[in-house]
């Protein structure tokens, strides 16, 4: 669920850009280091970026019969670690904006914060926690992807509610409204993505 170009007021667009920037810059440093260390690093990261983009372009069937796209943030965070995902996720978001008109450039900061920062970190944390507590690889992957998805949508709802608070009930009211609009579809989608991630991770572990 990308916030469309122009949907956020300028102050909000700028503020979220500032919020996401340190993570992306940190990730860019990590990426530069990886590339300098070994020459195959560059090609592997390019492959990882393309994988992230194409993953988010797959249509997954949802309960309502309509279809939706996985975010891939949980899987990406498990495979490539959150700092690098901050850069790869941002590159993916720029391509989605310019190649598919999903999201936008003024909303890039906000979308990067939810999908390239918050989602991967939450997903990765939950994955690690699940593994520490003795969960299997599959359980960790499922919970991680579920958490990444859900936290992405929660952050998006917060971003929208902050930008467009309800004149009577304020931020809290707007958050409840946005939460309600997205929860119906997104909880199921998060479960579907969790299952998908579980299957993929199992498949990769086998081979």
């Amino acid at each position: 669920m990308h916030i469309a170009e122009g949907f956020l007021p300028p102050i909000h667009a700028a503020a979220w850009t500032v919020a996401a920037a340190p993570f992306v810059v940190h990730g860019a440093r990590a990426l530069t280091r990886q590339v300098r260390e070994k020459p195959e690093g560059l090609l592997l990261l390019g492959a990882a970026g393309a994988f992230s983009f194409v993953l988010s372009a797959l249509k997954i069937p949802s309960v309502t019969g309509s279809s939706s796209h996985p975010t891939g943030t949980g899987l990406g965070a498990i495979l490539f670690r959150p700092p690098v995902m901050a850069v790869l996720g941002t590159i993916t978001l720029v391509f989605q904006a310019l190649l598919l008109a999903h999201g936008g450039l003024t909303t890039l900061g906000a979308n990067a914060f939810s999908m390239a920062v918050a989602g991967p970190w939450a997903g990765y944390a939950v994955y690690l926690l699940a593994r520490r507590l003795g969960g299997s690889l599959g359980t960790g992957a499922f919970l991680g992807a579920f958490a990444a998805d859900l936290s992405t949508y929660c952050v998006t709802s917060v971003q929208l509610a902050l930008a467009h608070p309800d004149p009577r009930t304020g931020f809290a009211g707007a958050l409840a409204e946005y939460g309600a609009v997205f929860a119906v579809t997104q909880v199921w989608l998060a479960i579907a993505e969790g299952l998908l991630t579980l299957l993929v991770v199992r498949l990769l572990a086998q081979s």
């Binding site: 498949l203 990769l204 086998q206 081979s207």
Partner: protein
């Protein structure tokens, strides 16, 4: 089965298929030839239900295919397509898993799925690969696994797009033996290829894209027509060229031309004899 007056164009582009008809006779080997970009692959996708043609119809057992879920399931149970690049077709961790994909989707009981997997691996002569990860196999082995995945569906018609591409001569020979086995078990086989000599050797019937027209007929007639082959931007075959010259000089008896160098050597008497 048959494609009848099929038309197709991709997304507002020019027509790729324009009024093309092809009848595939049950039990026979059909070769489909044409230069790259002539519409061969599109026709194969139309025939196998991967693409719904913009016009015309595909017929199975004389009845037009319905593009609902049931109609497509019926078509896909009867006809299977194997793509040129096996990596476009393999997506499971192990060989056995990949081959079981189709039978599982048919909703068959587990014992039956196992039997089909074993049968398909045996038919392709790769029973020894069953537990290997697909991406560790050689190209020729991956190609066989991809074919096994289609064979496990027990199709009546097996359609192969450029199955010999990327194989070495020994690989081509053993693939032809395998296809012979499948045909012996009653499967109708269709093969798209660029290789006129291979088609002459293998096929009963041929279909050649002559520009937008699809010419069809017995392989031994159609593939001996050098004018047609030239128009289709293919090469004349060695078998027909050499055979014709030798026959003109009385060195080769009547009948089809020897289809391989080995056959030719055996068929022509040495000058002393």
């Amino acid at each position: 089965m048959a494609a009848v007056r099929v038309r197709h164009a991709y997304d507002g582009g020019p027509a790729v298929l324009d009024d093309v008809s092809l009848e595939i006779a049950e039990g026979r080997a059909t070769a489909l030839l044409g230069r790259n970009g002539c519409g061969k692959t599109t026709l194969l996708r139309v025939l196998t239900g991967g693409l719904r043609p913009a016009g015309g119809e595909v017929r199975l057992d004389g009845r037009p295919v319905a593009y609902g879920r049931r109609g497509l399931t019926a078509l896909r149970t009867a006809v299977q397509l194997v793509l040129q690049d096996p990596d476009d077709q393999l997506f499971s961790a192990s060989v056995a898993q990949d081959v079981s994909f189709g039978p599982l989707n048919l909703g068959l009981p587990e014992a039956e799925v196992r039997a089909r997997v074993a049968g398909a691996l045996a038919a392709l002569d790769i029973a020894g690969l069953r537990d290997r990860p697909t991406h560790q196999l050689s190209y020729g082995q991956r190609k066989r696994v991809a074919i096994a995945g289609a064979v496990a569906m027990r199709p009546r018609v097996l359609v192969l797009d450029e199955p010999t591409a990327g194989l070495d001569p020994a690989g081509v020979e053993s693939l032809l033996v395998t296809l012979g086995g499948l045909r012996g078990a009653g499967t109708t086989v269709v093969m798209a290829t660029h290789d006129v000599d291979l088609a002459y050797r293998w096929a009963d019937d041929a279909a050649i894209f002559d520009g937008p027209l699809l010419r069809t007929g017995p392989a031994r007639e159609l593939l001996a027509d050098d004018d047609l082959l030239t128009r289709a931007r293919l090469r004349p075959s060695w078998a027909c060229t050499a055979g014709r010259l030798l026959r003109a000089h009385g060195l080769l008896p009547d009948g089809p031309f020897p289809a391989t160098p080995e056959e030719l050597r055996a068929a022509v008497p040495s000058p002393g004899g």
